[in-house]
Symmetry: C2
Subunit: 341 residues, 2 copies
DNA sequence: GTGAAAGCGCTAACAT
DNA sequence: ATGTTAGCGCTTTCAC
């Protein structure tokens, strides 16, 4: 491209020429590094602004071996939970100069591997990835990346490096205990048909273990995929109650379908929580405002995002410790849909 | 760093050494470019895999002047609308080799400028940005970036380059016409207290213009900020109805507060849509499953994301045309909360 | 089909 | 306080 090509983007050299200051000094001014006299600084800034110069981070990153990107990998954006995590990450990163790069895996481990490969090829300052279930290749890549890796959402497993999340097994377990303690015995589970949603799976496992402690077994189950969660919650609830009318508790794998179920029960005039108890999972405050508050367990999503971002952002200070394990404690909210003892 | 430094990430050079093939040929193999014999290709791939080589896109991008990043700037992630847009973008980009980089502005034009500057410094293949209201600086940066820019969500204004969205003015206008036509006359508006949510503002302006056509004025207004939208919807509805009990229609600036209002009215046994009509905005299918379907207008969020991503992704093919303008047509859904003529 | 040389735009390290 | 030199790890271009 010719120097006068209007499409060529500006370089330090252009600012240098325009201001009569060496490239190096221009670079220093633009990065606020080293001592530069007030006079030259002004000259440079004026020239840069006048030309509309935007630095080229690609070149900068290559030269300095520093990249202000943080890779963030989530399974889905439609799940409502992940945007909240992203929001926490984004808020925490806001003033650190770090910038999130996002990838979505659609709950596919292969796709996750591809996304991670792509991200690591940008040599980010860190990677935040949902869950601990990865392909062997993906795991190897993460281990060899030489940057802080934070696995989020879930702590049940062996982390690559750091981990921030809750124990979904325990979440399920504690919900089961609370339900049993409240006197419910004929319990149904309603969830998503997602073999690769490991967290939902672990919650169900923990839940069953919790019931088993009291010699109780799951009486019935109902699964769905896709569609409006609220509506699905209604439909599934109708289906399971039609099939098993004697159920006295319904445990939903998320709050949205739980809310649908709650609305269905209220419509039908079912006595909640007397004749039938209900509980969901996530603690989405979206639902505050429903006629009755659904029992739920907070999944600490925003906080998870925050803390994960903090680990990456703080990695400059405390020399490469790594391997943090932060287990957050979800709190059980009985709402109005579990009978109180 | 020494060659045997375990922390040094691998380079083409390492793969070259390990496979006995020149760096250049290794590069060709890894990018599937040019003719390479089956034999060397295998040698190279084997070595790369064995070493766990991950290419350095920073160096690649600098050398080739090609970057597979697309900048995406949204005002918020908690708004529920934007994750859907992102989802559409992400889905559309999935198989193009392009990767989204996200930035959040919190509805601040200054922050948007900073985020854009940051993004442009990575020389992305394109930028998708919400809205047409930018600082003069930001606008200049976008104009001079020399890459496709797509402003999304809103078409009411003068775009920098391409634009994909709906007319919020018209959305408000048409809703007003429908309401007036249905016979409502004492109309209240409930919305967010957000001076920089230009789309909500334009909807309100259009709405008022639509009422004015019939000689009707807004009878009352109520604004909120923060908190659970469903709950806020309830509270605001109670407030406005207490203050102005003779209102016969409530227009909400989004579906979530509208749904809260709807639940409130049902609780209170108010005759909807007979004595009081309700309408929201966005068409969030999250709400399907409520006892009654709220009237709303689809904001085409996912489709907007898709089409915006398509414009960026398609920019290789049709030589730098640019300046597309895609206005989507939101459809009015009367639901069960507007009286039918 | 393969390789060697040059350089992308910047910054680290060392002058001065 | 400012400038000079070398090179980050790739890809482009050209030679073989």
């Amino acid at each position: 491209m010719a120097l006068n090509d209007p499409k060529r983007t500006l370089t330090l050299r252009d600012v240098s020429d325009a201001s009569g200051v060496s490239e190096m000094t221009v670079s220093r001014v633009l990065r606020n590094r080293g001592d530069v006299s007030e006079a030259t600084r002004d000259k440079v800034l004026e020239a840069a602004r006048r030309l509309g110069y935007v630095p080229n981070k690609i070149a900068g990153a290559l030269a300095s071996q520093r990249v202000n990107l943080v890779g963030v990998v989530v399974p889905s954006l439609s799940n409502l939970v992940f945007p909240e995590v992203l929001s926490g990450i984004s808020a925490e990163l806001e003033d650190t100069g770090l910038q999130p790069v996002f990838g979505v895996t659609n709950y596919s481990a292969e796709r996750e591997e591809a996304v991670l490969y792509e991200m690591l090829s940008w040599r980010p300052s860190g990677v935040i990835v949902s869950g601990m279930e990865h392909t062997p290749n993906a795991r190897a890549m993460l281990e060899n990346a030489g940057i802080p890796i934070v696995e989020i959402m879930d702590v049940d497993g062996t982390p690559v490096d750091s981990v921030v999340g809750i124990s979904h097994k325990r979440a399920g377990l504690e919900m089961a205990r609370a339900i049993v303690k409240a006197g419910y015995r004929r319990i149904g589970f309603l969830g998503t048909k997602m073999p690769d949603d490991h967290r939902a799976r672990k919650r169900l496992e923990g839940f069953q273990a919790g019931l088993a402690e009291a010699g109780v077994e799951l009486s019935d189950q109902e699964f769905y995929s896709g569609g409006s969660a609220l509506l699905k919650g209604r439909e599934m609830t109708e289906a399971i109650l039609t099939r098993s009318p004697d159920l006295d508790f319904l445990y939903y794998s998320n709050d949205m379908i739980g809310a649908g179920g709650l609305l269905y029960c209220l419509d039908k005039g079912i006595d909640v929580p007397g004749r039938l108890g209900l509980a969901g999972f996530n603690g989405v405050d979206l639902l505050e405002g429903l006629p009755r508050r659904l029992a739920t367990m907070d999944s600490c999503r925003r906080e998870i995002g925050r803390q994960a971002a903090q680990i990456i952002a703080g990695h400059g200070h405390s020399d490469m410790i790594g391997g943090e394990r932060i287990e957050l404690e979800p709190t059980l909210d009985y709402g109005d849909t579990i009978r109180r003892a």
